[in-house]
Symmetry: C2
Subunit: 421 residues, 2 copies
């Protein structure tokens, strides 16, 4: 069936199947899609032993390959993990169906009635590393938004992803939906990824889920539009009129709650005028085991501060390290952020409403915040229910990519015989 | 300055200037942008003689090159044409500024207030053929939406576009805006186009304006997302329950009002059951000088019908020619449209509301219509004020691309000290 000797032909066939199926899945009822997801959740539960066995195969393969403990950790499934995946599917089933939503409607003087209605995007390609749960999450989100999806999981999670995918297919079949609605690329061969990135005729959007090197490769090579962020160099700026307690709590939370997520703060900017605040914040951070790299001003405040180099302002540590800089004022903070931000999420801490509005308007990032932790940069926290990722591009989706962002729209024009003059 | 010997370097410099300027222009006030446009309109009027002289230079060059009369016609400017361009700029100035519009706002249970606010897209590249007026129209639309723009006009309109561009620059200067907000590629060398298509780091969107070969080249080669339509193979489907008068009026208008625009109908589908309607419609069309190419059923109706081949169902004639096919029923019409439509604009004529809704929901085109002429597929007719083109892609913009489609958005999150658990 899938001939890895003729990868391009095999992948094109997958693409054509997805494209054809996308037309059917676009018209699927909410009930059908939800049924597919809830049957898939049940299948995950009833096939737990099977999935764990597949996962054990993957772990064995990965141990031989000498995968890092962090990667092994992401790959590892247990019964609780499978239950969480099943619950995730049910949560997506419970979300409102975006397809068919009326986004706008208006009348023209000639009597034409025009509405803008949400429709699925079409075919989505998801390329991810060895996190088997993405198979279910991404597959379910794309399906719920009425899309066909081609999933390409990391080679180390080959069997786990396959076992989870089988549950999704069972759900589709039970719901009377075509099983090609959610396809998993059935090969470990990395050439398949290269093929996906050039399938601009059959794939509408590529979503990479993984580390910097994966996203970078996809962004550089893809001929298909990409929803992604390369990195999250998020800033917390403590303005001179910040409330000291809020500044401490937010700075510490933004950095330390979880250091490995894209919304974690990487740089702290502090106004020169704040003589009292930096010591307390730095103290809290050091106490929690955070390494601090600061400019000369910051080094004067606390002897435990290591000197920051130019590289630190560009760094996405994803670790308990933070770069700290003293800035002259709001304008200097804005300039620093313009120069170094990855346009993901940046936050100002201040009690000065005008300064806050200036920051919210002038910082050109997908998410800009006032008196809130950058760790809120998340589709769930935004109330979108679930997200497939966060995008820093400017086209179509920006910020958390949830169900609505996985749709397009069309115009419906209702007339009564109008002709154009 | 612009070194055509080092085209890539020269174009990259243009791109960097655009990118840098885009940050300033994104923050420009509505008043500033409108002032730039109205000063540019005045400049067009006061420099009419200069522009006509530049146009004469272009016409001389084009005559030597042996340009077709149709292309000469598009290139030719007169005083009325320049006045129309000036009026067009004033009309864009009068449109509401989309930047800063609040698209949505909601509160989270933790007290965070989230809003989705319109921001400019960034840098737009417009590649067009020798229609000097596009210099003004496209430049003005991009500016009004807060973007920097790089314009690349056809080589035959080099001097005319340059003279019009000078007026735009005068407007920018008068309004205190950076003149790099609207840049015109200062060379006829086609290599500049190839450079633009790979400038994915500095150009956010490419908009091609011109014939099929230009759009095809851009779509095939561009590494930058493209807003465009390759062709407009628009269908009018006369359902068995159509009102005969509406069917005649709409079919004739959709085909013959202007045959050269993308929203002109190219194929007429008629239900088998309509014994009485096709003859009248065909009669009207033939009377107006339209050539009819029909399947065998249609040929039986009217002896003047030429036989249609498979090619005719794929044809965008842009001329007084129409392909006509008898279909069994609504499903057959939907199948034909799915197979042959270019997903631009398709219309059903019927008095049966259920059939109309089925058509509006199932036809996967940017614009779907009921009892209206496909020639309404136009941003002005939609009430958008002006458009830079029509897109048939599914990403970001679909249908008429007006000011709103030339923007992106960001999330503003307002808190009171929230940290994430």
């Amino acid at each position: 069936m899938f001939d890895t000797q003729n990868m391009k032909t095999a992948m094109d066939q997958l693409g054509t199947q997805a494209r054809d199926t996308s037309k059917q899945i676009a018209l699927a009822s909410t009930e059908q899609k939800n049924r597919a997801l809830s049957v898939a959740a049940d299948a995950l539960r009833s096939r737990t032993a099977e999935i764990l066995a597949a996962n054990a195969q993957d772990l064995e393969f990965s141990a031989k390959k000498g995968l890092s403990p962090a990667m092994i950790d992401r790959l590892l499934l247990d019964a609780d993990g499978i239950e969480a995946i099943a619950t995730g599917l049910e949560a997506i089933a419970a979300l409102p169906d975006p397809v068919g939503d009326e986004l706008a409607r208006w009348d023209r003087p000639n009597g034409l009635n025009i509405s803008r209605v949400r429709v699925p995007l079409g075919v989505i390609g998801v390329i991810y590393e060895s996190r088997p749960n993405v198979t279910a999450d991404a597959g379910a989100l794309c399906l719920k938004a009425g899309n066909a999806v081609i999933l390409r999981g990391g080679s180390e999670s080959f069997y786990s992803s396959g076992a989870i995918h089988a549950c999704l297919v069972e759900g589709l079949k039970e719901a009377g939906l075509p099983e090609q609605a959610i396809q998993l690329v059935p090969t470990r061969d990395r050439a398949a990824v290269g093929c996906m990135l050039t399938m601009s005729g059959t794939i509408d959007i590529i979503v990479p889920r993984g580390g910097r090197s994966l996203v970078e490769r996809v962004q550089n090579e893809s001929r298909v539009p990409v929803f992604a962020h390369l990195e999250g160099i998020c800033h917390v700026y403590v303005h001179e009129e910040a409330d000291p307690d809020k500044a401490r709590a937010i700075a510490v939370n933004a950095k330390m709650r979880r250091t490995g997520i894209c919304g974690a703060a990487e740089t702290l900017l502090v106004d020169q005028a704040d003589a009292h605040m930096p010591p307390a914040i730095l103290h809290d951070l050091v106490d929690m085991g955070c390494e601090i790299r600061g400019d000369s001003e910051v080094q004067k405040i606390d002897a435990r501060v290591a000197p920051a180099t130019e590289e630190d302002w560009h760094a996405e540590y994803l670790d308990a390290i933070i770069a700290v800089k003293v800035v002259e004022n709001l304008d200097a903070a804005l300039s620093h952020i313009e120069a170094y931000s990855s346009n993901h999420t940046d936050s100002i801490i201040t009690e000065n409403a005008a300064a806050a509005e200036t920051f919210l308007n002038r910082v050109d990032s997908a998410i800009v915040m006032h008196n809130a932790s950058t760790q809120f940069a998340d589709g769930g926290e935004f109330g979108m229910g679930a997200e497939i990722g966060i995008a820093t591009g400017r086209i179509h989706a920006r910020g958390p990519v949830g169900l609505e962002q996985l749709t397009s729209f069309k115009y419906q024009v209702r007339g009564s015989g109008q002709t154009r003059r």
